[in-house]
Symmetry: C2
DNA sequence: CGGCAAACGATACGCGACGTATCGTTTCGT
DNA sequence: ACGAAACGATACGTCGCGTATCGTTTGCCG
């Protein structure tokens, strides 16, 4: 589980520790309880579901005062964002020598992330909560999405290098397609996320090279 | 705007009026204020945003007592579901004689629905709120999604009949692809929903017929 | 080793929203 | 004109957010 390598400082827009890593030689303060708190958030989510995921429940579960949480995260959303960033997987895709196998792995990873109902609930709820606040939303995208997407983009580019995918493949659109379809099915339609879906989403990329390139769709 | 033809009884699991449309000739009790309330919900959403969309705000805007709302909708989610069902468009696609033009119109309609930030926020927030309650979620899918999707499926089937699309096209998957990508871009990525995107999503269906059929993806 | 500042836990508070309950009033069909 | 259904107002209990206060623990630095 490499995506949770960071168990450190919260990203709650009040950087405290992380912001001046060089200036003050020592001390400079920092949370002693961040990992305990994020762990408790995971716990509450897993055991009692998203609806029960309140700051007060997390504080109680972590054996921590509410004030400690609010000292490091400005609000519920930022805490939840940090907790989800640790839960959702977005690992690097190893070089398997086989483009199709790598892409299948990328899709499977997305599907796994949504397998749990509480995760599938928490992510859109969080995103919707963040949307009206551009600053928080930007932080969320940076901390939550960027790395995962880049890891998959690397695999896509390997496929391009192998000649299996078109040189001007739009790696962003491909990922939006995958992740969007999976999210939409899970959240809105309630359809199953099975092997068949995964396989077809991979097929799609191979079958529709012309529509997934970065150029304009219909050059005239 | 044909999708909002129903301005009538709420779907809040307490059907009252709507459930026996034939039995009692008339009267039989029913909300006199449903349309006022749903209109107020639209109003609050449009004018003050999703965060301000509370039952009490809707009641005040509608000039209605809170109790009247709770008399017909068991909770906030069901009211919101009915309000959104009236707001989001899902019209029939007219027969234009041109498959590509019809599909483009379908995609544009989805994009339009998400153009407004409050709508783009409200829908995933609502869906996430309903997800833990299967009964409410089922009602929402029935009342909100089914007609819109069927209208688009009709256009897709016309394309099949014209020979422009493969006979075993998976019309559900196609729609998940479109709607999912648009939702994901809007909600998670923050990317623009422009003509280029619409055009490429339409292209995708034409270019990847083999991956979008109802059969198994990889027959062996 | 002693001191000090940061981090901490507890607790109380104000606020707003949900959802319930009560009650007198209006509407409307018969 | 009557009565039932729908209504509006209002008060209430509960819960969770986020703030504020305060005394206590921790651990680094001299």
């Amino acid at each position: 589980m490499q995506s949770s390598a960071n168990s450190g400082a919260p990203t709650g827009s009040r950087p405290s520790t992380g912001s001046r890593p060089s200036a003050a030689s020592r001390s400079a303060a920092g949370p002693r309880s961040a990992s305990k708190i994020l762990g408790a958030a995971r716990d509450v989510l897993a055991r009692q579901g998203y609806a029960a995921l309140t700051i007060e429940a997390v504080a109680a579960t972590a054996g921590v005062g509410k004030s400690t949480i609010y000292r490091w995260w400005p609000n519920k959303e930022t805490l939840l964002a940090d907790a989800l960033a640790e839960i959702f997987r977005g690992d690097e895709i190893p070089d398997l020598g086989d483009t199709r196998a790598e892409l299948r792995r990328a899709v499977d990873m997305t599907i796994d992330n949504y397998a749990n109902e509480d995760l599938a609930t928490a992510l859109p709820a969080l995103a919707a909560g963040l949307l009206p606040n551009p600053e928080l939303m930007a932080g969320f995208r940076e901390g939550f999405l960027r790395r995962k997407r880049e890891n998959i983009a690397v695999a896509l580019r390997r496929g391009v290098a192998r000649g299996d995918l078109p040189a001007d493949l739009d790696t962003d659109l491909v990922q939006d397609l995958w992740a969007g379809t999976v999210l939409y099915r899970r959240l809105m339609v309630g359809a199953s996320l099975d092997d068949n879906l995964a396989e077809r989403l991979v097929d799609l990329v191979f079958a529709s090279a012309s529509a997934l390139t970065v150029g304009t769709a219909t050059p005239d």
